[in-house]
Symmetry: C2
Subunit: 453 residues, 2 copies
């Protein structure tokens, strides 16, 4: 079959020689001289904008990426239906110190966390009690009753990998309200998950405990958290006014958006590469995760530009609802299992469009050894960082189907300045860094479709 | 002596144990939790601003850094006099297409190159001839007579290390006017040295040939270079109006600013660490090279904060006039030789305040082996990139005095977006990246002052 196609000129034989180093060079050259990633991201950010699951913006993003992949002539482009939760912020979030001896009334930069129930327009007022995290909250127990709990645990700035610092501090965001409610707190403020002192409040997901009241959970900027903590120390009777308007709407029909190029030799072996299409409802979701989506589409587009056909099937996937539900990732894995699809690898880019340093991965020893055997092919592109374990939220549900799970590892220093804020806009993305990430994923996809894993 | 100081409690013995890994961890922890680098850079950028050699801004920067180092209580802080060239832009640079069939009259984003002689207020008008670089200019020879030569050679975007692309394209900037003048050209336009298409014109140094007329040399943005090239293709009779006002003033007295902490065991062995204090006259010289200066001062400040004294003498040096003369670096080496000083290492940070990836270095095999023997101590901080050769412009003149010459290697992807433009401002610097660079230099200085090299 392949011979026939070669004779017909349908596979450019030269481009597909045995020299992987040369072909990876071609991928990088194409991306760095005529890549589409940056312009596509501009469109997603500026013309579509932010796109929380269930929002009109998310619907626009689905349609944009579907059309984009169709325009590139991928073999198949389709929508995979998935019901998603639909949270709506409902209005401006307000956090105000009302009785500061030093400041009088002082407004703080605030954003309610996702999935929170709002106070409604009447707001609420309460005394504040500061804790460093869930553990201190539990020690205080009933002492927080009737109060607003202020979680002020910082991300540890000493961690070189900032995702470790994020992991160490995010329980206060994801389950602070649920825990505080158990002890009778009437609301929570959360120090934003950022590793520098800056004015941006960072939203993000939180989950209530259904057995307890759904109290407000609002993030304030690290800068304001410092101010508030100082004010509270010198004035323990500090009172805070909270107002937020969030609510869960009916679940909405949305989609994972999928485009694929079929393999010529082992089409049944699938390599999925993707990011999540939804974002939070502030900023433009540029780094999180417009970058990953546009890079994944670019991987397949590069095959078209180079006139290559992969040996195995490669698939770009835009997962829906990573931010506040993960329904897209779960549905994708479920459907893959039902259809009896065979994923040999799943690659996710969801750590920002920053300088790629390598990949982290989880799999069998054979899979890991195979990936590590390519280290010297990746090193000329400064992809020095191959480590375990790894993967990503959206590809996690595929784990029991046996693919190697791989996460692109960009440099992590700047991510938590932008993450889940109004500052995560197109202008925060560097064209070269974004393109290098797309090329890095394309290089790895190329090696896997050629050699298997 | 050391024993005595230990007994007297003047050297904290514990901090100075044999465990280099622990001490490097202390350096990073101190920098990442309570570093001064970012705030000091803010002051330099926002309160001093840009500071071309010979300008009042440069004088302010000298005084600021002198006071800053004195405030930290370094053992010695002093100014080293050096006469510097003083170029002044004199006014707004204008480049205008005057007869475009498509655009009519069209103003381009322009900045005269440093050391150029202006046209004066009357400007000049001429026909344009485009070349890809010096080589093509030489082939055209007398054909450029009476014309404005448009150097439109791009930085090669395929180079992963962007400094290689810069090196490949900068002859058109540094000697384009000198070469074009030989053949009778009346002026030159230069495509900015940037590796993406963006609206910023990049200034930079150029040198005339004293035997030929000093014709204007003006940079236009890459975006405008693309527009101009297209316009010229469709309309070969395109005429351009140039106006610039630059002139060389009298040489001015300025200074290298030096602070040092004397070594306890081998004070005669000096480790210099520094950046250049001057910048171009646009933007704030944040990445180039405020970052390097503030990082160098921070290396010594960390010793004070940690209560350490080095075994060998460590010296922070702010070199003056790197951008358009290198007088500071030359004077520093000259004085060192006259005084019989013994530099064992010189470390320069002049590639931007971006994520540090490692060091490049030049020296004897013994020096290089010693440095490489520390690789595992640097790797936990993602300093994976130790390569040869290396160094920097300001430490180059020290070469024949035998120190190992070392350059901090930050990631290079974003540098040529900001380099020599109005966009090189404090806000373009990420706090974490800047601090990691300071800590990386401090870690290396620590190893050298402890172990020698």
């Amino acid at each position: 079959m392949r011979k026939l196609l070669l004779l017909l000129g349908l596979i450019p034989a030269l481009s597909f020689g045995q020299n992987h180093a040369e072909n990876i060079r071609k991928i990088y050259d194409a991306e760095l001289t005529s890549g589409h990633t940056y312009e596509n991201l501009r469109y997603l950010c500026k013309e579509v904008g932010n796109r929380l699951a269930g929002s009109p913006g998310a619907a626009a993003a689905v349609e944009y990426t579907r059309q984009l992949m169709e325009s590139y002539g991928f073999d198949t482009v389709y929508l995979q239906p998935v019901m998603v939760p639909h949270w709506d912020r409902g209005g401006k979030d307000v956090v105000r110190i009302v009785n500061s001896e030093k400041y009088g009334s002082l407004e703080l930069n605030a954003l309610a966390l996702g999935n929170t129930e709002g106070t409604g327009p009447q707001g609420l007022v309460g005394n504040l009690i500061e804790v460093s995290g869930i553990e201190e909250l539990r020690q205080l127990g009933e002492k927080v009753k009737g109060k607003i709990v202020f979680f002020n645990g910082p991300m540890d700035p000493r961690k070189i990998n900032t995702f470790e610092a994020y992991g160490g501090a995010n329980a206060q965001r994801s389950s602070g309200a649920a825990e505080a409610s158990k002890f009778g707190a009437i609301g929570t403020l959360v120090r934003s998950l950022s590793n520098t002192i800056n004015p941006y409040p960072h939203t993000g997901n939180q989950r209530y405990n259904p057995d307890f009241p759904k109290i407000p959970a609002i993030a304030i900027s690290t800068q304001d958290a410092e101010v508030l903590s100082q004010a509270l120390k010198s004035q323990p009777g500090l009172k805070i006014y909270l107002e937020s308007h969030g609510s869960m709407k009916n679940e909405a029909l949305s989609y994972n958006v999928i485009g694929e190029i079929r393999g010529t030799e082992k089409p049944e072996e699938i390599i999925a590469v993707g990011g999540h299409l939804d974002s939070w409802d502030v900023g433009e979701g540029a780094h999180d995760d417009g970058a990953g989506c546009m890079q994944a589409i670019e991987v397949l587009r590069l095959y078209k530009e180079l006139g290559w056909r992969p040996k195995r099937t490669i698939r770009a996937v835009m997962w829906m609802n990573e931010e506040n539900g993960l329904r897209g990732g779960q549905e994708y894995a479920k459907v893959a299992k039902e259809k009896g699809e065979k994923h040999i690898a799943a690659i996710e880019s969801d750590s920002g469009g920053f300088l790629p340093t390598g990949f982290s991965f989880s799999g069998t020893s054979e899979q890991k050894d195979k990936l590590l055997s390519w280290a010297e092919l990746l090193r000329p592109y400064q992809l020095w960082n191959l480590n375990m374990p790894g993967g990503g939220a959206d590809i996690g549900p595929l784990r029991d189907q046996g693919p190697i799970l791989i996460g692109l590892k960009p440099d992590s220093q700047r991510y938590f300045f932008y993450h889940h804020t109004e500052a995560d806009v197109f202008e925060a993305v560097d064209q070269r860094e974004l393109e290098l990430g797309a090329a890095a994923m394309a290089a790895l996809v190329y090696l896997i479709e050629q050699e298997g894993i």
